[in-house]
Amino acid sequence: MTALVCTAAEAVDAVQHGDTVLVGGFGMAGMPVELIDALIAHGAGELTVVSNNAGNGHTGLAALLAAGRVRKVICSFPRQADSWVFDELYRAGKIELEVVPQGTLAERMRAAGAGIGAFYCPTGVGTPLAEGKETRVIDGRTYVLEFPIRGDVALIRAHTGDRMGNLVYRKTARNFGPVMAAAAALTIAEVRHIVEPGAIDPETVVTPGIYVDRLVAV
């Protein structure tokens, strides 16, 4: 099935109150700012947001947080020089935080997209982030049991997409895009360019269109 090419507002219309939303980007690189703005206008709240950071400055994810739409953030690195929106909400007790090691965050989403029920991971063993989690010794090494993170929706940004939904990214803005695209029930990609099928060399497709439901040119 081809991806539905639509506006940002049409793309996010299915987001529900209380949904888990995977938001791509590392800092602002790869952040789907247009889709987030559309989500703010759409009005869904009580969201759980999964992203590497908890917003930078006043745009993108930070704007969604400032609008009071996010109940919980699952991320690896919330605290930054320009994460003042999150910091204030957190210190006021208005937002829940789950800190996950960066690689475990990526792998938990990868597992969701790949249909893996859970996995044993060496990261975090013996640290506060593994407290209360099941561990197992395999070949003499201790691992922590980690469960998938599945999204109701993924909002990602890529460079070029075709109407089949095939995506190509640009440089380090790729970051979480391919992992999140596979891990959500509804994946929406904003792209700089939409091209005809065949215009992207199949050898260079990074995210195959099977993972992408809606495509928005920005």
Binding site: N52, P122, G124, P128, L129, V206
Partner: protein, 211 residues
């Protein structure tokens, strides 16, 4: 004479084997890059998804918001660079493909336990990033830090009191006073700068062997 920060960076760069795949942590470890001569063919990994990372662009006009390092600073790509997504990037660590990573630390224990992500202070917002994955993933973990905290307490300790990042993962500690090699049989002092092993023994609560 104790070492300056630049001299510490030069020392770490000297000890990274030629041809290694290396991740340099945010902050002081990043400065090591300046001392890695291109002919040594050391490839830098940045965990946000790139091998073959080059220095920041000389001309600010060449900064590209899509091309940043783990500290979200603009960088460049070198010939032979490759981009990949986050799950692949961290598989490179967890899978044991990175030869060396260089990290900062609040504390390192004599057993190589590392504490570098959270002060544990009330009100501090916890943020771990890739520190735990790097600590357990790279074949060798080098730490760069001052040997003593601002209040004078040692940062090379019998057991960490700060929240841990990883267990028994640090192999070397570079400080302004000495370089320490850590292993199953304890801590060995490899080099000293403006001090002696005897003096270090009086200032640290950790048993020290001379190399």
């Amino acid at each position: 004479m104790t070492l300056s920060k630049a001299e510490m960076a030069r020392l770490v760069a000297r000890d990274i084997p030629d041809g290694s795949y290396v991740n340099l942590g945010i902050g002081q470890p990043t400065t090591v890059a300046a001392y890695l001569a291109p002919e040594r063919e050391i490839v830098l990994h940045t965990e946000n998804g790139m091998l073959g990372m080059g220095p920041p662009p000389a001309d600010p006009a060449e900064q590209d918001p899509d091309l940043i390092n783990a500290g979200k600073q603009p960088v460049t790509e070198l010939p032979g660079a490759a981009y990949f997504h986050h799950a692949d990037s961290f598989a490179m660590m967890r899978g044991g493909h990175l030869d060396v990573c260089v990290l900062g630390a609040f504390q390192v224990s004599a057993h190589g336990d590392l504490a570098n992500w959270h002060t544990g202070e009330p009100g501090a917002i916890p943020a771990v990033g890739g520190a735990m994955d790097l600590a357990i993933g790279a074949k060798q973990v080098f730490v760069m830090m001052t040997l003593f905290a601002r209040d004078g307490t040692p940062k090379l300790v019998p057991a960490c009191t700060y929240p841990l990042t990883g267990l028994a993962c640090v192999s070397r500690v570079y400080t302004e006073h000495a370089v320490f090699h850590l292993g199953p049989d304890g801590v060995r002092v490899a080099e000293t700068f403006g001090t002696t092993v005897e003096e270090l023994r009086t200032r640290l609560a950790v048993p020290l062997d001379a190399l």
